[in-house]
Symmetry: D2
Subunit: 386 residues, 4 copies
């Protein structure tokens, strides 16, 4: 009997988990695959929402935890976090001896996974190559593409780009994004089946969730570190003018996290807003339900570009973080400007939901990924295709 | 008066120094540039030839030394060496505050320079992108291309490839390789102007350097780690059959270094060869002189592909390390097979020198690079050009 | 002219700065000494009060900053923080080339300073050896004693203990603690000369600082990690029962920091106390002024043992953190029990200030330390004195 | 049924293995103990004799390997090796979850084990505390004593010293040194039962092992880094004058290793000695046999002080490395001086073997240690006993 292929997935942040969750399910149930999960970086930390707890509650066994976030309010800390990540993750791979390593998307610390795997001659699969974002994520994403041995991309444009970059077409697979899989059942539902305030606590005002509400989710933009405080304040002022019931989700970790977080904290202390409730995190499913019922998503999360396109949720996308990414008709792009933001939110709330668009997946990504992990040829040598 | 641009060059290995030396000269003498040199990894270590000493003898001031080579006869050590490199090099950049960082070629540890610079938002220039090699170097080289903000390439084919990979054509400059600059005067000379045995000591037999001799320079191939011992033995047997006066240069550091090195050491102890002299290292100029006077270069060094094309030195290129690289008429490619190697050496020695070919530069790379470092726009944000 | 001795002081936490500040002044002004300051670990971090800002405001130049705090809610992170500290601090010493290194007290990360200095053959001076505390601090403190080449101790009992441990008496100097130097002028003053709410902001209720108030300062106890949440809750309940105006200072970083901090945060959200104001940090002088005017200090800070003895401030000392330390008549020791705590606070508030006691210094420690750093013989070899 | 106690022993160098081997045997066979072995640092490296291979051949299962030796010919590398060691070993402890950690002797990198264990609240046992050596080993040894929760010492004088240092007498156990256990059967034997040249290869001359021979084993002395080359040359010259058949053992890793090693290598190349054979390592038993048959041991190894006292082998002890250690009548101490060395060797060869002395153990250390590991109370809090 042939041995099962050991597939090791490294998850380093809250949003990455949503982008792999259904694939984890299919890998775990696949008779020829053995799933290994490594949780690292901000996915382990309380102040970034402890994705690790969600993963465990979902019934996944975690094979190793890697604490590598170095504290420090500067960009150097991001580099060092990555260095520590390489040191620790290579030890983990030595212990787990995976046949394939899977890394997700483009956060700065994910390159540690790519380096550890490729230097140790373990075939590397990259989820979500070929998209464009700008800033450091852009560099990280494409650098990982050049280290990866196979690519599972979300959109046909992404597929085209990865091949143009010199990857062999036979190694580039259009799977769609597993995060869209999660949205399939939500698209059908008409109302929330849980009370977010009761289930997720959080802090701040509690309002009637049946009433219209909006959602804010704004992350710092790495290469504009010093201005992240200023950016968030434009959004805070806009929200303060509208005074609509608002669910606000804390940003995940980044070099500038504290600029953004402090802006929010100071606002809470001073403005004592009576219409905002702050959450750290929700299980992916619950978040999508809350998103689907909202009147508008504001901020710069890629959820606005991806899941919201599928769900048809109106989005006000702020600043450069998602620039260049394929987007649906549901998105209005604005700058870091309270007036622009206010106007766009008003427009979107008035418009209401958009028709569902199928840009980043058709809902079968997880199953496709598991099947590919079973079938792809395991190689570590590659050359530019031109 | 505008401040000088601070250009920080990180050198991690012996051969990298030859590929930047003339540029260092021009940068140092440029009125608008301030040169910062960081020496790291095997370039600092005695058993890999202490490139650091050569750099200092050439009159360059070293701003920081980074010891990051982790000992261990395995691939994990290469990953960890890189992780330590990131941690240390980011501290160095914090101290030196360069305006531009320059990284050279494709050795595994060079990605530490690329990550530290790009995560810290320092514009990154990559020397020698766009070439192809296979194995881990291939992945590292192209990953660095995707992190670099400007590219100084050696050949027109390399330029074409970097642009195809999605880099903006305005950021890709065909400079040629500075190592060719060093070869310009040597091409004219007709005999050695120094005694290598006296100047560089080394160990083993001393013979009349005026007589015909050959050179061996064979590095382990990272992804074929366990077989590096076997590979080197084919070469050793071939050399042992020919018994021509031979100058043998020790390999530089790699995950499999000890497989190769041990093969050589055991051969020395057992065969006690009377026709071989072993060197650790030579100053770049001296090495080119010795190369130019040799009858044949054997092994897998890129010197056989690059400088030897310019000098017309006959080359027997063994194995996969240089596969896919542009090469001149002077190269015969063979496998890891003592018979093939022996036959090819005999053929090359019988043939004698080839006409000079101009594939990797015209001798003005260093000057061009310094001028560009003064003139290029300093940016850290980029996007795929398609 | 002889060169100045380069004295490098490494400061890793807020309280350590108070225990060296007057010495820094005297070193800086000493004609034969050159002061080098390295700020590391939690002393750099915003959420532990950014001691670094205070140091700079006091006019000291910082030669290097070392970010080494690894995030993670577990004890392993403390070990790794120390490992990263050694790697980084040894680079700093390589750059600064100090003649003497000074390390302060007993926090876990201070052993990184001791190891870097002693392994690099730099004479090491330890401030505050010979005291006893229990738990990991106890191990760290005495281990550093065994690595140090000279000892500047605070009390005669500490001096006796260091000598008993086998250190040569000629290397053990009773200097007193520089933190007491800071308290000399404060002892004379009768009222606050600044408004803490205005100057330090903080969050929570603002009350009339002329009215009687108490202070709380409670740190997690490393080896009782999991119970730190429970410990803090006893204190919170006691404070909640008394409802006296209270100044609460956030704990500094430790493995269990988040247990304690979360306890406090949850209390704030739920109890919404109207009689507490929370501060992150104050300049040492200001803190002593606030302390001197308070009716009672509650918690487990060593300030209760040291400065409070000199100032005669009544103290309720909770739990094991200070057990075994010399203390004055001003201290009542209690367990982690809300009833005990409440009763002791009531007793102390009723009693009022105690006479000044001179246990940890006479106010001239800083001057003595600077003079010794100039005069002591620089040696790195030592042996047990028995 | 109670769970077995998990005892984790960390071995970082060749000689440390001899000092724990018989204890490992007894732990492994003990019904209430589970043995975990971690091999780290130079014990893993080929050029320091790969102790790891010996350990595996002896039938022990290795639970984790930790590569942490940072290359670099300087003292900073020793500090950084320790920092990397802490980072890696704490991960190992996280995985293995030992109930007790055992660290051996005083090499610089062993403090990494002590820090990882004590910061993670794992009870720490230290083997061989209380001895004196001078230089960095002295600092490391006693610092570990202050971090250890129990002490298994080799001699009654060591026991006395550990207690004097403030450790509670109930935690200090006189076990003797397990290395003496290995010498018990050898003391009875009258001739070698194997051919060292055939079994261990090595390089250099092969002579009749039945004829009188001497042994050299000289390590660099850390704090005299730059002079290690000079030191070894005095010994080399002395040996060259005597020209007796000589077994020379390479030094183990230290900051100055390359000074010593290079001295030896240059000597081999130049003097081409016809009376010396060089070995990297032997299994502990075999080494003791070879030692017992030798006419004299020369150098600065602690084997000369410990096992040689028991075996009565004449010793010429060079320099400061063993200064202050208890020694038997069999030792002549000399300085780094070829004449002194030559004269002392002649005297010892003429004298012949000495009577057995029982200073560092009676041959039952291993058994005692295993029993104690089963029985001692597991605590991590301690205080100075005075």
């Amino acid at each position: 009997m042939p041995e099962k292929r050991k597939v090791c997935v490294v998850i380093t942040a809250r949003p990455s988990y949503s982008r792999i969750k259904t694939a984890l399910d299919y890998i775990q149930r696949h008779p020829d695959l053995e799933l290994q999960i490594v949780v690292a970086a901000s996915a382990l930390l309380d102040r970034y929402g402890s994705a690790v707890n969600v993963i465990e509650r979902d019934g996944f066994k975690i094979n190793a935890k890697v604490y590598n976030v170095l504290e420090g309010e500067n960009l150097t800390a991001a580099a060092k976090t990555t260095g520590i990540g390489i040191i620790e993750i290579s030890t983990v791979f030595d212990n787990l001896q995976p046949d394939i390593v899977v890394t997700i998307a483009d956060r700065f610390e994910t390159i540690a996974t790519a380096i550890a795997a490729s230097y140790m001659n373990i075939p590397l699969v990259h989820i979500q190559g070929g998209e464009v974002t700008g800033n450091i994520d852009e560099k990280v994403r494409h650098a990982i593409t050049k280290m990866a041995d196979a690519h599972f991309v979300s959109s046909s444009l992404a597929q085209e780009r990865v091949i143009k970059m010199g990857e062999h077409p036979s190694k580039v697979f259009l799977t769609g994004c597993p995060s869209i899989d999660l949205a399939v059942p939500i698209l059908q539902s008409t109302r929330l089946d849980f009370d977010p305030f009761q289930k997720y606590k959080g802090v701040g005002e509690i309002f009637n969730i049946e009433e219209p509400y909006i959602i804010v989710m704004q992350h710092p933009v790495t290469t504009e570190y010093e201005s992240s405080r200023k950016h968030i304040e434009e959004t805070l002022q806009a929200i303060d003018e509208l005074k609509m019931p608002t669910l606000w989700f804390w940003p995940n970790v980044d070099a500038g996290a504290d600029g953004t977080s402090r802006g929010i904290r100071v606002f809470r202390e001073k403005a004592k807003p009576t219409y905002v409730h702050f959450f750290k995190n929700m299980e992916p499913d619950d978040f999508l339900k809350v998103l689907n019922q909202s009147r508008c998503l504001i901020g710069n999360s890629s959820v606005g570009i991806r899941e919201s396109a599928y769900l048809g949720v109106p989005v006000v996308n702020i600043g450069s973080r998602q620039s260049g990414r394929e987007r649906g008709k549901n998105v209005i792009d604005v700058g870091y400007d309270r007036k622009e933001i206010t106007a766009a939110i008003r427009e979107q709330v008035a418009h209401g939901h958009y028709p569902s668009e199928n840009i980043y997946g058709d809902g079968n990504a997880g199953e496709r990924i598991a099947a590919l992990l079973k079938d792809i040829q395991l190689t570590v040598d590659k050359k530019l295709a031109y």
